[in-house]
């Protein structure tokens, strides 16, 4: 039963995360073992999870829906964050394409029903409650920063395109959380699923990621450190009195790319107020070995820009120092040889 005239059976196939779709699957009352015996479902599950060009068969809703839920389970069981993220990316981009064809009322319905987004349309203008906006906004884009939006009595004004983007992000988060739910559940999965999980993992690992375009632009960059970090390292070496946030940025960056606490502490040796014990204590905090046990991420480019630590020499599309590092090391790794020698260069 479809609860509203807005949503058709085709829509359930396009948007399998809708509660109506989950309900439909539940009514089929199939065990996972039974689903695994449906060849068509299994084939499509692998295909849809790994291909950006997969065409959904709108005429066979139950097979499609089952294949989606099977792909979700398989992806979750890979317990491989890279694979799961790629799966979530492929899925959410597909949904985004569908959403872009939809009329306003359907998009609003989906936002509300599937993700509890508080969205309203007043005089044709779309408004989303700031709490949900902040929860799902894409990170590292000045366009989306709350300070650059019109905020009125708790609601942010959005275009229809932006609302679909918000749903895309919400869907991606939904997949990630479902995957961790499944992976952490106590359910005993049938033996025969293992080979499918392995197959999906290896296929997802080879799917080209969206970042490859940006990566290509970074090819040939000698140093994998972003300009801001390079500058901080130079300043630390020169014994300049770095600000608190500068120290935090440098330490958290180095910790995140795999430096040990000892190695990081060495970077601060030349600082005017260097105190080995204190520095170690603070670096351990950042590394998540003390206090809240939280491993701190270095601040985003946005933030670094706002505190004047961004030299502004990056290529376009970089929004986090770690993103730069990852792209640079990946592009170098594909040319052969990065890693330890790079680290030696920086010390």
């Amino acid at each position: 039963m479809i609860s509203t005239h807005i949503i058709t059976i085709e829509d359930l196939v396009k948007y399998p995360f809708l509660p109506e779709a989950t309900e439909r699957i539940r009514r089929l009352n199939l065990s996972l073992r039974e689903v695994l015996s449906l060849r068509d479902v299994v084939e499509r599950a692998i295909k849809r999870a790994t291909s950006r060009n997969y065409t959904i068969d709108l005429t066979d809703p139950d097979t499609e829906l089952l294949s989606f839920y099977l792909s979700l389970v398989l992806a979750a069981l890979t317990r491989d964050n890279v694979a799961i993220r790629r799966f979530a990316d492929i899925e959410s981009k597909r949904v985004s394409k569908f959403l872009q064809q939809e009329p306003l009322d359907k998009v609003v319905y989906i936002a509300k029903k599937a993700f509890n987004i508080d969205v309203k349309v007043v005089n044709g203008l779309i408004q989303v409650h700031f709490v949900h906006y902040l929860k799902y906004m894409p990170q590292g884009d000045l366009e989306w920063k709350l300070v650059n939006r019109v905020l009125h009595r708790g609601f942010v004004y959005l275009s229809l395109r932006e609302l679909t983007r918000l749903i895309e992000e919400a869907y991606e988060k939904w997949i990630l959380s479902k995957c961790s739910e499944i992976a952490n559940s106590m359910i005993v999965f049938p033996e025969e699923i293992t080979s499918l999980v392995d197959e999906l993992r290896s296929k997802l690992r080879t799917v080209s990621s969206e970042v490859s375009v940006r990566r290509r632009r970074l090819e040939g960059v000698v140093d994998p450190y972003p300009p801001c970090i390079r500058k901080l390292i130079e300043e630390a070496k020169a014994g300049e009195n770095l600000s608190h946030i500068a120290r935090f940025t440098l330490a958290s960056f180095l910790i995140h790319i795999g430096f040990s606490v000892d190695e990081v502490v060495k970077y601060f040796e030349n600082l005017p107020d260097y105190d080995e014990k204190k520095t170690r204590y603070q670096v351990e905090h950042i590394a998540g070995l003390r206090g809240s046990r939280k491993k701190y991420l270095p601040p985003s480019c946005d933030y670094l820009r706002s505190v004047g630590l961004c030299p502004g020499e990056c290529i376009k599309g970089i929004h986090h120092p770690l993103q730069y590092y990852r792209l640079a090391t990946r592009s170098r790794a594909s040319e052969g040889g990065v890693g330890s020698e790079q680290r030696a260069e920086a010390t």
Partner: protein, 388 residues
């Protein structure tokens, strides 16, 4: 224990016996971590939890704190000392306005700094580096001052206004406190707010402080024309910007200024490149009036400890005073005074030129009979000792 400490301990303890602790602020006391610094030895005691206000009261009457805090966070097990085991359930959003972070002209008159490395001293807020030795550690001596509090109060009112008009949080939904020293705390504790992540809170902090603001985002290019969303009738930041810019633009008086005037009034939709240039030029002048000077660290932190309403501030002897918006509007330090009765004879070792309407500038080194709260303030600041 010194005589001064004994006196403070007995006064504070007596105060806590009848202190006005309420169940609605902070809400859900059993879910909060309580922390305090003991008056006696300045030891910090953390991870306390109390099921009722009476339990808390009994504790603080016996273990007298110089500072009493509660966690802005709600926890499953607030009394557990391992942060991972506490079970974070959500946290209030707290806007901390502290005049320490706001430059005020009067600081030159009443504040001083001393370099901990070489002993160099100067007036006003501490510099980034000591001009003599280049050191970066200072002892800051700052005093309570009506003018400073006035600035902090204005900032607090600005925050409340933005919360209402932009975030839809009405003044009835916020709890306001005078911090007991040099600022105000504004607490928002609604269900939707509690779950905000640190990233979300950082966005709110940036919004308040206008970090990452890009004026060009309020101009839309369509073909060769550029449309402006900066109108005095607009909501949110573009509206506030437009209203402040408008006041500046009418003083300029050029032809471009006239065009910008019309755009800001909403009588002209498109804006010329020269018009945008003028706006960009005037922008730095108007930003300070729109920016809210809040401490972003406090706002972003989801595990923060904050002063308990109606507790005493151990550096001043003043009360952390809950206020309504209208009480904030006409706030004076008088409202936070606790120890009104009697007087004390003290020797003054240091003092600001003016304190609670008393001129003390020429009294340093002398023995004086001072009203109780003035003497207590100076004793708390460790610049006065009891005399027979």
């Amino acid at each position: 224990m010194s005589r001064e400490l004994k006196l403070l301990k007995s006064l504070f303890s007596r105060y806590y016996r009848y202190a006005e602790f309420t169940t609605d602020f902070p809400r859900d006391l059993p879910r909060r971590e309580i922390a305090l610094q003991l008056l006696e030895n300045e030891a910090m005691v953390r991870h306390l939890s109390f099921n009722s206000i009476e339990d808390l009261r009994k504790y603080v009457v016996k273990n007298v704190p110089s500072h009493l805090y509660y966690s802005t966070a709600y926890y499953e097990n607030p009394g557990v000392d391992d942060m991972d085991q506490k079970g974070w359930l959500g946290a209030e959003l707290v806007f901390d306005i502290d005049v320490d972070h706001i430059p005020t002209p009067c600081k030159e008159e009443h504040d001083r700094w001393i370099c901990e490395n070489c002993g160099e001293a100067g007036r006003g807020s501490k510099p980034e580096k000591c001009p003599k030795c280049g050191g970066s550690k200072f002892r800051q001596i700052s005093w309570i001052c009506d003018k400073c509090l006035e600035v902090a109060r204005e900032e607090a009112l600005k925050v409340i206004e933005v919360l209402d008009s932009d975030f839809g949080v009405s003044p009835h939904e916020v709890y306001i406190c005078f911090s007991g020293h040099r600022g105000f705390h504004i607490h928002v504790d609604t269900d939707v707010i509690r779950e905000l992540s640190q990233d979300a809170r950082r966005e709110i902090a940036d919004y308040m402080r206008l970090i990452g603001l890009r004026i060009d985002k309020f101009f839309t290019k369509r073909g060769k024309r550029t449309y402006s969303r900066l109108m005095i009738t607009s909501s949110g930041i573009p509206g506030r910007l437009a209203r402040s810019l408008y006041e500046k633009v009418i003083e300029v008086g050029t032809q471009v200024a006239r065009e910008v005037e019309l755009v800001l009034e909403g009588k002209k939709e498109t804006i010329s490149r020269k018009g945008i240039k003028l706006i960009e030029k005037l922008l730095p002048e108007v930003l300070p009036s729109i920016r809210c000077e809040i401490d972003e660290k406090v706002l972003i932190d989801t595990h923060r400890l904050i002063r308990f309403p109606n507790s005493l501030h151990g550096k001043t002897g003043l009360k952390v005073t809950p206020l309504t918006v209208s009480e904030l509007e006409r706030f004076s330090i008088e409202k936070a005074i606790v120890f009104r009765k009697g007087s004390l004879r003290v020797r003054l070792h240091d003092a600001p030129p003016k304190l609670f309407d008393m001129n003390l500038g020429n009294c340093v080194g002398r023995v004086l009979d001072l009203p109780m709260y003035v003497a207590i303030y100076l004793i708390c600041r460790k610049v006065a000792t009891l005399e027979e």
